[in-house]
């Protein structure tokens, strides 16, 4: 039995087992004892021989022993990596390096290293310093814990979890990037999910009873302008209505009057008929983003776009709609959306116009409460008759009513 321990033989077996293991799987595959014997390298399935060979491989850092649910298991390590290990000056450094190595792309916190190895802080520090100068490891930043000093193996790219995915640039959430992308996505959905057409004067339904048909006109050039030129019928009607430009229609309410007065150029978005099948889906949006090449140095997957669209949904700007099991998105409150083209708005914003308006979507609607001074009052909770703030000395109300203190009646 003694000759089985022959070093030359073991060397051969070692090389054979190592190459065979590399053939059978990637660096992350775990080999159990049975897997190794099944590789048919060790003659006669000799367990003791196997033990010796594996031990030798482990000593050379070519195999890494790990625990597995059925006991011990091993995975192989590349020769270059193994070389790094063997070139390290002492065991401590080796341990530190192995811990960092195991942490992989997520990186590891230096205090975790200390805890895991139960070593003195100075020792760990020394080791890290050595490893860093050797360029075996490097420091990194994790978005989840921006204040922790983390280390990662030098040749690895930090994982998405550590960098925060495509939305982060150098550990910071890139809000400008996100906002711009959101604007583009929103604009695309708006264009694709609503029909740009003309609409009669707004009427408070039920309040006015005047005929409103005078307001359809959509003269030929404009109909052509709208992306789908399906609107022939409307042009026909408009022609015979043209001579009587709906002055009559504009009687009852103010909004009606203004709309019809401006209706010459008034185009609005109209909701698509029910059952419309071509509301843009996430994958279509992703394709668009990809095709335009806006994000040249970041790749955005469908999941990332989904995240973006979800945010728009939560903002109440778009809504999901399922038609025949196809989940598309459409703009909310289509008829209230402005029809200014995206390019023009961009130009305006660069020129400093409309910067205080929300970048996309309509102005939020309001109700009685939010408009009254009390709805926005910072001291609403304190307001009490006889208290420091009370209805009788309320300055907000006076300002709201246009009665500044200077003007409020003579004493």
């Amino acid at each position: 039995m003694a000759e089985t321990a022959d070093p030359a033989k073991i060397q051969i077996l070692k090389d054979a087992l190592y190459t065979e293991a590399r053939q059978h799987g990637s660096e992350s595959r775990l080999f159990t004892q049975k897997d190794l014997t099944d590789l048919n390298v060790i003659p006669n399935d000799n367990v003791i021989l196997l033990l010796l060979v594996v031990q030798a491989l482990c000593d050379d850092k070519l195999f890494v022993a790990t625990s597995h649910q059925s006991g011990l298991a091993w995975r192989w390590r590349s020769r270059e990596d193994a070389k790094k290990y063997t070139s390290l000056p002492n065991d401590e450094t080796m341990l530190v390096y192995s811990v960092i190595d195991e942490a992989g792309a997520d990186g590891i916190w230096n205090r975790t290293i200390k805890h895991k190895l139960n070593m003195h802080e100075a020792v760990v520090k020394n080791c890290i310093k050595y490893l860093e100068t050797q360029r075996y490891i490097e420091g990194m930043k994790n978005v989840e814990h921006p204040n922790k000093k983390m280390y990662i193996k030098a040749n690895l790219r930090p994982s998405d979890r550590a960098t925060g995915g495509p939305w982060f640039t150098e550990g910071e959430l890139d809000t400008a990037f996100i906002t711009e992308l959101q604007n583009i996505v929103f604009e695309y959905i708006k264009k694709q999910s609503a029909y740009l057409g003309s609409q009669g004067g707004h009427r408070d339904a039920g309040a006015s009873r005047v005929p409103k048909k005078g307001t359809i006109r959509g003269a030929a050039p404009e109909a052509g302008e709208s992306s789908r030129g399906v609107k022939r019928a409307a042009t026909e009607i408009s022609n015979d209505d043209q001579p009587s430009p709906s002055a009559k229609a504009a009687t009852e309410n103010g909004t009606g009057a203004t709309t019809t007065a401006r209706s010459k150029a008034k185009m609005v978005f109209l909701p698509m008929p029910a059952g419309y099948k071509s509301y843009p889906t996430v994958s279509e949006i992703a394709k668009l983003i990809h095709a335009t090449g806006i994000t040249n140095n970041t790749t955005l997957g469908e999941a990332d776009i989904q995240q973006l669209v979800d945010v728009l949904t939560f903002d109440g700007l778009v809504e999901p709609i399922t038609v025949n099991g196809r989940k598309g998105y459409r703009v909310t409150r289509a008829s209230k959306q402005d029809t200014v083209s995206f390019a023009k708005r961009q130009k305006d914003r660069e020129a400093g116009i409309g910067l205080d308006e929300p970048p996309n979507g309509v102005q939020p609607s309001s109700n009685g409460l939010t408009e009254a001074p009390c709805g926005r009052c910072p001291v609403f909770e304190l307001c009490e008759e006889g208290g420091p703030v009370s209805p009788s000395n309320c300055v907000y109300f006076l300002r709201w009513l246009g009665l500044d203190d200077t003007r409020s009646g003579p004493v």
Binding site: W167, N324, N367
Partner: protein, 661 residues
């Protein structure tokens, strides 16, 4: 109804504004102390019994009071009717609604009813007779001077109408007709003995009666309990329907009613002819009946208007108009917005069928409306008529709405999957068993859509389908040509969207985003939020704290183990919409209260001017008589008053949405 501090103050201020201080003080005392007898009230208010009786009479006249006479000792106890007190604020809105849907005469009658509280029909007729006589006399005086006509009533009325267009009701016959119409629309109902009892008292009385007659030994077992509940509900419904007695009577000679309606819609304004024929057809109302305004039904109509407004905002005016017509038809037989859990436990047959057909809507649309407006156009190949015509026979299950709020994690994904799956299933099966019908419409579509625009019924259908497809679920397509509305989930959606408006206005779009994330995902750890919202962590923390103070979101601490170490605990954010809405409601009361109080302050400030305008020689000709400085102050005051009242009305929109619809 839950009466909060601010609501109580608001109610007594309103009564103060309309009926004076005496009833207001009594009302405030009743709200504060609860049910009280006269001697107790004497104690609380330190007023004499005589004064109190006067005040109580006023309150009673305007239905602001409940009372109950103890059957043993004959002592009457009084309780405040806060609901009706709050309704006073809506008077203007109700009048405006009546004006647009029933015309000026009806508005005039309603106004008289509002001013005088519940009234005997006889008294109302007499009052109007007086007014008409007065005007007639004046007209006659004018006429005697100028012309030689001396014809019977009809012509006189006509000239009167010409001379004095502000007199809305021109004869007692017309008055009678107007009242009949309003009664039929349930906007006016009859006062009966139980009107002045609280719902609790009525419940107790009915329960006692049922117990005595059916279960002398008390109900035994589960079955008997259910039976008891049903019997009580039946009894309660009988009490409730008592106020509809007049309407029932009118319904019985239905043919006449129909004839009158046809005539009436022909033209309420061209006086003479109508009146004569109405006189033939109208049943004369019992002059001893006491009538009052039925706020419950008014609320149903106000709700319709509100929904139309919402649809205008969400979809577009033309579609909203169609929706308005449809709602009008649908709610004809709906007498209240919210069903009473005690009364309406069983299926209510009296409401009639709960849907409207396409043809009915078509018949009621104004011919002047162009239905081709407000609809987008798409090539026919892009439209799936199968998906559009999807029929949902059953109202949405309640479970889903609870789930939406409670389930965490992948709830949204689940839900949408589920929806997609079941929907397609559903439409498939529907498609199968009503195949020919759908095909029929399809062919029609094809023919008419090819060259020309769609014909009118098809356009109407498009609008209805659009409403049915909306995420708000304005309409449910419940049969091939039948449409209905599930009010409960729809109002819930509307309430949420109103809450969203407030959140967006106070905390910005980011705040709204966070709240809606929480609403769809349930409780979320603070660490999970930045990823979903795509916002910076610090920003989120700040926003969340801000919104927690405002009461839109809240936080829950969940310890990891028994030691409840704060550092290790989870902190979960959540949003409880109902709680936020309750808080919003109370804030609304407070805001309305402040508006009225500010108005009072302004009144005090310009007291001297206002006193001046009360003088009889100034009244009506303020501009000519008053000095310019004074007149300017006066008109400024009026403008501010108008602004404040308009604001109160708008806040009331919110209150009624949260509380009543």
């Amino acid at each position: 109804m839950l009466v909060t501090k601010y609501l109580a103050e608001l109610c007594s201020l309103l009564i103060d504004d309309l009926y004076g201080e005496l009833p207001s003080r009594i009302f405030a005392a009743l709200l504060l102390r609860g049910r009280s007898s006269l001697p107790e009230l004497c104690n609380y208010t330190s007023m004499s019994a005589r004064q109190l009786r006067h005040g109580l009479a006023v309150l009673h006249q305007h239905n602001l009071l409940f009372y109950q006479v103890d059957s043993y000792n004959g002592v009457a106890t009084y309780e405040a009717n806060a609901e009706h007190a709050y309704n006073l604020i809506r008077a203007g809105k109700i009048l405006e609604m009546i004006d647009t849907s029933f015309g000026a005469p009806a508005k005039d009658v309603m106004q008289s009813l509002l001013l005088s509280g519940q009234t005997r029909i006889g008294d109302l007729v007499a009052a109007y007779q007086d007014k008409i006589d007065h005007v007639n006399k004046a007209a006659k005086a004018v006429k005697d001077e100028t012309s030689e006509w001396d014809e019977p009533n009809g012509t006189t009325d006509e000239t009167v109408a010409e001379k004095r267009p502000d007199l809305a009701v021109k004869s007692t016959n017309q008055l009678n007709a107007v009242i009949c119409r309003l009664v039929e629309a349930e906007l006016i109902d009859v006062v009966h003995s139980k009107t002045f009892q609280t719902s609790f008292d009525i419940y107790k009385a009915v329960e006692k009666e049922v117990m005595d007659t059916h279960f002398p030994g008390g109900p035994r077992g589960g079955k008997a309990k259910v039976e008891l509940q049903q019997k009580v509900a039946e009894g309660l419904r009988k009490v409730r329907d008592e106020s509809k007695s007049l309407k029932r009577k009118l319904d019985q000679n239905g043919t006449q009613a129909k004839r009158r309606k046809l005539l009436f819609s022909g033209g309420p304004s061209n006086g003479v002819k109508d009146e004569h024929e109405e006189a033939d057809s109208d049943p004369v109302l019992d002059s001893k009946q006491v009538i009052r305004i039925n706020y419950e039904k008014c609320l149903v109509d106000l709700r319709n208007r509100r929904l139309v407004q919402f649809a205008t905002d969400m979809i577009g005016p033309t579609t909203a108009y169609v929706y308005g017509v449809f709602l009008g038809l649908l709610t004809k037989r709906v007498s209240r917005c919210r069903l009473d859990p005690e009364i309406d436990i069983t299926e209510d047959d009296s409401q009639g069928r709960g849907y409207v057909t396409t043809d009915e809507i078509l018949d009621n649309l104004k011919t002047s409306i162009d239905l081709s407006l407000g609809l987008g156009k798409a090539p026919r190949t892009e439209i799936s008529s199968k998906a559009a015509e999807k029929i949902l026979e059953d109202p949405p299950k309640k479970r889903r709405f609870i789930e939406e709020a409670e389930v965490d994690g992948n709830a949204s994904a689940d839900e949408s999957d589920d929806e997609g799956g079941s929907d397609t299933d559903h439409s498939d099966s529907d498609h199968d068993h009503k195949g020919p019908a759908t095909n029929g419409t399809k062919v029609k579509f094809a023919d008419s859509a090819k060259e020309q625009r769609l014909d009118r019924p098809a356009l109407l259908r498009q609008h209805l389908l659009l409403l049915a497809e909306s995420t708000q679920r304005f309409v449910r397509h419940c049969g091939h040509n039948d449409w209905t509305v599930d009010f409960v989930p729809l109002m819930r959606t509307m309430r949420e969207s109103e809450l969203d408006v407030v959140i967006e206005r106070t905390s910005g779009r980011e705040g709204l985003r966070l709240v809606r994330i929480l609403r769809s995902k349930g409780k979320l750890d603070e660490k999970a939020l930045p990823n979903v919202a795509l916002m910076r962590k610090a920003e989120i923390q700040q926003k969340m704290l801000e919104m927690q103070t405002a009461g839109f979101v809240d936080i829950q601490e969940v310890p990891r183990d028994n030691k409840a170490d704060v550092k290790k605990s989870f902190f979960l954010w959540f949003c409880d919409s109902d709680r936020s809405l309750r808080r919003l409601l109370d804030n609304s009361y407070k805001t309305m209260l402040r508006c009225i109080q500010v108005l009072e302050v302004l009144r005090q400030k310009d007291k001297d001017v206002l006193m001046l305008t009360k003088r009889s020689d100034v009244r009506g000709q303020e501009k000519d008589v008053m000095e310019k400085v004074y007149y300017d102050r006066y008109s400024r005051f009026l403008a501010n008053e108008k602004k404040l009242f308009a604001q109160i009305m708008r806040i009331d929109d919110l209150v009624s949405l949260i509380r009543d619809y």
